[in-house]
């Protein structure tokens, strides 16, 4: 019955390994969150940090309204179910369930009532006087659940509760836990390595690997829009097929060529609008992902499809209701081991296939997934980062997509022909060119609208949904990049400025009113020191730093203050800086100035030169501990 919030949570072991990296998540009340990932990915560690069984190296953990970083598990109002049940062997089931309540010194009658009630919910009333070792695995897990729910915790934590059970029991218990969640109406956090459990139970799923969160989304979105190859391969059975290949865009179509195979298909560009343009050059290697159900051997599908490749069948697995067919798109491949040419097909159509046969298979290109070969990140993201269009600069005017606009002073450049990269969030809805809205969808918290500007496709994100048929758009010059002949001619302004800083304590004697008299009083202030400048922090901020670093390390750790250009201002006092030049973006002006060896950017409305002082807006800055790169605020 509470929200759980994790902000920049880290688990760093003394030897330096990071088990959990910068975990950020807002879990809302009554959600069923599943942490899933292979063993050693940090999912259990995260859960145990929420439980208080593991220290939090850095970051902030809130349950309800309370910061619980340093709270003992018993004070956090949580309950946990363990993989090996962890029932107290020397106590009966009744005593096991009542243990927590007895420690909380509830009246005997209440305890009895609650225990019986919990036992009824879980159907273990008959076993109340038994010892755990007289019970089967499934019954034990029910007792463990009973012990958890009887305390009516704010948050239920379940650490792989079903992995010690056999397959049939697991399916049954899965349903029961889901039922329990509906009945109890509290927040559930569930850890598993089994993606089926995750998909069937979670309202939202956190996929983790090597201590990093890969993606947080609903089961459906994870399945449809995996953010990287790992998520794509982890979610769904049989595993997604991954091929290596290249994409080449010519005119309105894109040729997809598969490596180590003759297979090549051509698809209309409209299907790959969102793909990052850099990957469409026919050279950059991509990983092409297609789920088994998106490859079909059925006759009518092949007839209707434009994307048909040849597959050599190697073997099949008969599952009764369906047949999984294994093959290879490389005619020399064997289709058994995992390789970039192996293909798994779910839809075999009517016909029966024999091993060694070469057949045609239709690919459902609308569900294609593309990943970078090295970073494994999606290159066909749900929300694209950039719009990539051709552009021309002539006489200080930039033209693209059939529109022309004056380049402001800040981004003036010589005449050229090249590419213009407009980040999707750099398209503003208050410009002067009319664009048609093709579609608008809510994708993971933001609204993505597909626009048509003079026949060209552009994507824009906005916080509010776009409902009208057409909008007037403009672009934010600070964020655009123009590339010509491999050189960056116009660069975007950095989003954040970093100042190395220290957290310090200052003692001063000041006049203050004590009991109605003015007296000199010693006052202790905390704040950040950047160069000679000192910025006093609020109590809340200092407590966050103390909580993250401990009271002693707070004053010795090297920190970095991160501050956007909009949150900096020129002032009488503050960080000493040297004004270098003013950047005029038309509607806004920014000042580039030198602080030490770094260049920082400040929003301004006047022109400055010479020595100035910069003042950050402390409410908006971020603080990073530089040694471990841990975000504190």
């Amino acid at each position: 019955m509470a929200d759980v919030s994790l902000k920049h949570v880290y688990k760093v072991y003394p030897n330096g390994t990071k088990a959990v990296n910068d975990f950020n998540m807002e879990i809302r009340d009554k959600e069923f969150i599943v942490f899933v990932g292979p063993s050693g990915c940090g999912k259990s560690t995260t859960l145990r940090m929420i439980a208080g069984l593991e220290d939090i190296s850095a970051g902030e953990l809130k349950i309800g309204e309370l910061i619980v970083n340093d709270m003992e598990p018993k004070d956090r109002d949580i309950a946990m179910v363990f993989q090996n049940y962890a029932l107290y062997p020397h106590m009966t089931v009744y005593e096991n369930i009542a243990f927590g309540l007895r420690l909380r010194k509830l009246p005997k009658d209440d305890i009895h009532k609650k225990v019986v009630e919990a036992a009824e919910i879980l159907g273990i009333t008959d076993y109340l006087d038994k010892k755990p070792k007289e019970m089967s695995g499934g019954q034990r897990q029910r007792v463990a659940l009973g012990r958890a729910i009887v305390r009516e915790p704010k948050v239920m934590l379940l650490d792989e509760p079903l992995s010690n059970l056999d397959a049939k029991l697991r399916t049954q218990m899965r349903a029961e836990i889901s039922k329990l969640h509906t009945k109890l109406q509290t927040t559930f956090i569930y850890v598993t390595h089994d993606q089926v459990e995750a998909m069937t139970m979670g309202t939202r799923i956190v996929v983790m690997k090597d201590g990093f969160v890969q993606q947080i989304d609903t089961p459906k979105n994870l399945y449809s829009y995996p953010a990287n190859k790992f998520v794509a391969g982890f979610i769904g059975t049989p595993q997604m097929n991954f091929f290596e290949g290249t994409l080449l865009k010519t005119g309105d179509s894109v040729a997809i060529k598969f490596d180590n195979s003759d297979a090549e298909i051509t698809v209309p560009y409209s299907l790959l609008y969102k793909a990052k343009p850099a990957y469409l050059d026919g050279k950059k290697k991509v990983i092409i992902g297609l789920r088994a159900e998106d490859i079909s051997l059925a006759k009518e599908n092949i007839k209707n499809s434009k994307a048909v490749i040849k597959v050599k069948i190697s073997h099949k697995e008969e599952l009764g209701s369906e047949t999984i067919i294994y093959g290879d798109i490389n005619m020399e491949g064997d289709g058994y081991g995992e390789s970039p040419t192996r293909v798994i097909i779910k839809d075999g159509g009517e016909r029966d296939f024999s091993a060694g046969e070469t057949v045609e298979a239709a690919l459902n290109i609308e569900h294609i997934h593309l990943f970078d070969k090295d970073t494994e990140q999606s290159v066909l993201p749900r929300v694209p980062e950039f719009n990539d269009v051709e552009c021309e600069v002539k006489d200080g005017k930039l033209s693209f997509c059939g529109v022309e606009l004056e380049l402001p002073q800040a981004v003036k450049c010589e005449d050229l022909k090249g590419e213009l990269l407009i980040p999707t969030d750099a398209i503003l809805f208050d410009g002067k060119w009319k664009a048609d809205v093709v579609s608008c969808e809510n994708a993971g918290g933001v609204n993505l609208s597909a626009l048509r500007l003079n026949g060209n496709r552009l994507y824009a994100v906005s916080t509010e949904a776009v409902e009208s048929k057409s909008v007037k758009i403009g672009i934010d010059f600070k964020k655009i990049t123009v590339v010509s002949e491999g050189e960056e001619k116009i660069s975007p302004m950095p989003q954040t400025n970093g100042f190395p800083c220290k957290f310090v304590k200052k003692k001063t004697r000041e006049l203050a009113e004590v009991n109605g008299k003015m007296k000199k009083k010693k006052i202790v202030r905390f704040g950040f020191e950047i160069g000679d400048a000192f910025f006093e922090t609020t109590d809340e901020t200092s407590q966050k730093i103390f909580a993250a670093l401990g009271i002693k390390k707070s004053f010795t750790a090297a920190l970095r203050m991160e501050c956007g250009a909009d949150n900096l201002s020129v002032s009488e006092v503050g960080i000493a800086a040297e004004a270098v030049r003013t950047l005029d973006y038309g509607t806004e002006k920014y000042l580039a100035c030198a602080v030490g060896d770094n260049t920082v950017y400040v929003k301004t409305d006047k022109e400055y030169s010479g020595s100035i002082c910069l003042l950050p807006d402390l409410a908006q800055v971020g603080i990073v501990e530089t040694e471990r790169e841990i975000k504190i605020i």
Partner: protein
């Protein structure tokens, strides 16, 4: 037919093997029992000539040795001393060992590893050499020739006996502690309500070994009780009987005393042997 024959011969070989085992076990049992039977027999011998006779069974059967034991000698007093020391040491040592083991097995603190290493190293020093210092420390607090002093010496270093007990605690799943802590237990509650009830075998093992030790310990008690026969333990007192000048007179009494000392401990041991084995081999607790 061939199969059947083979089957039969295998059974025959097995039977022969078993017979051989029985014979070996019988011989072993005899070897182990004869000295004790001898001891018992000697305790009923009427003629006093130490052990330098050349016959096994006494010419004169008598209870005199037992009567002498309780009337003429200070044996009853020594027995009481030893019993008292044993009981007190058992209590203190068990508590200390359990506390130390729990701390070293379950709690994580900075000095845990160094402490374990320290105790390992301390265990390598010949304990006897520290006796002189201990003697003077005890003397300063007036505890030499005193049972309390002996109890202190026996139980003061009990922490070093943590090894086996910690090994047992290590086999108790950690998730039990964690479950209890989430249920609202402090570390102390976990110790008392979860770990201790599960540690029955190791508690019995510790009690048993602590209880037996003072009965057989000679080195420290002879040193601390030097010359004060009122405060001897049975080991020191009975050893005195076997000195060359008194062996002839007291040998049969010694045997009677040995029987009296052995009976209760043997009974205790046979009764609790299951736990003893479980304790030392770390009978695993499953959650």
């Amino acid at each position: 037919m061939g199969v059947k024959k083979k089957y039969r011969s295998k059974k025959g070989a097995e039977r022969a093997c078993l017979a051989l085992i029985y014979i070996v076990l019988g011989v072993i049992s005899l070897i182990w029992l004869i000295p004790f039977l001898l001891l018992i027999v000697q305790s009923f011998r009427g003629e006093s000539s130490g052990m330098s006779m050349n016959y096994v069974f006494p010419e004169q059967w008598t209870f005199d040795n037992y009567i002498r034991l309780f009337t003429e000698t200070k044996f009853l007093r020594w027995y009481g001393n030893t019993l008292l020391v044993s009981v007190v040491v058992t209590i203190i040592q068990t508590v200390i060992v359990l506390m130390t083991s729990y701390a070293l097995s379950r709690l994580r603190f900075k000095l845990r590893k160094p402490l374990m290493n320290l105790m390992l190293i301390l265990g390598m020093f010949p304990g006897f050499l520290s006796m002189t210092a201990v003697y003077f420390i005890l003397k300063e607090i007036n505890l030499t020739q005193n049972l309390v002093g002996l109890m202190l010496v026996y139980s003061a270093s009990s922490a070093m006996q943590y090894y086996i007990c910690k090994g047992f605690f290590d086999t108790i799943p950690k998730s039990l502690d964690e479950a209890a802590r989430i249920d609202g237990a402090s570390r102390h509650t976990v110790f008392v309500k979860i770990i201790l009830p599960l540690a029955k075998p190791i508690i019995i093992y510790t009690v048993l070994s602590a209880f037996i030790a003072p009965w057989g310990e000679y080195m420290f008690s002879s040193f601390i009780m030097l010359g004060d026969s009122d405060h001897f333990t049975v080991a020191v007192g009975m050893k005195m009987w076997l000195e060359k000048e008194s062996v002839n007179e007291y040998f049969t009494v010694f045997c009677a005393a040995a029987v009296v000392v052995s009976i209760p401990i043997t009974a205790l041991f046979i009764w609790l042997q299951r736990y003893y084995v479980e304790g030392i081999t770390g009978g695993s607790v499953k959650g």
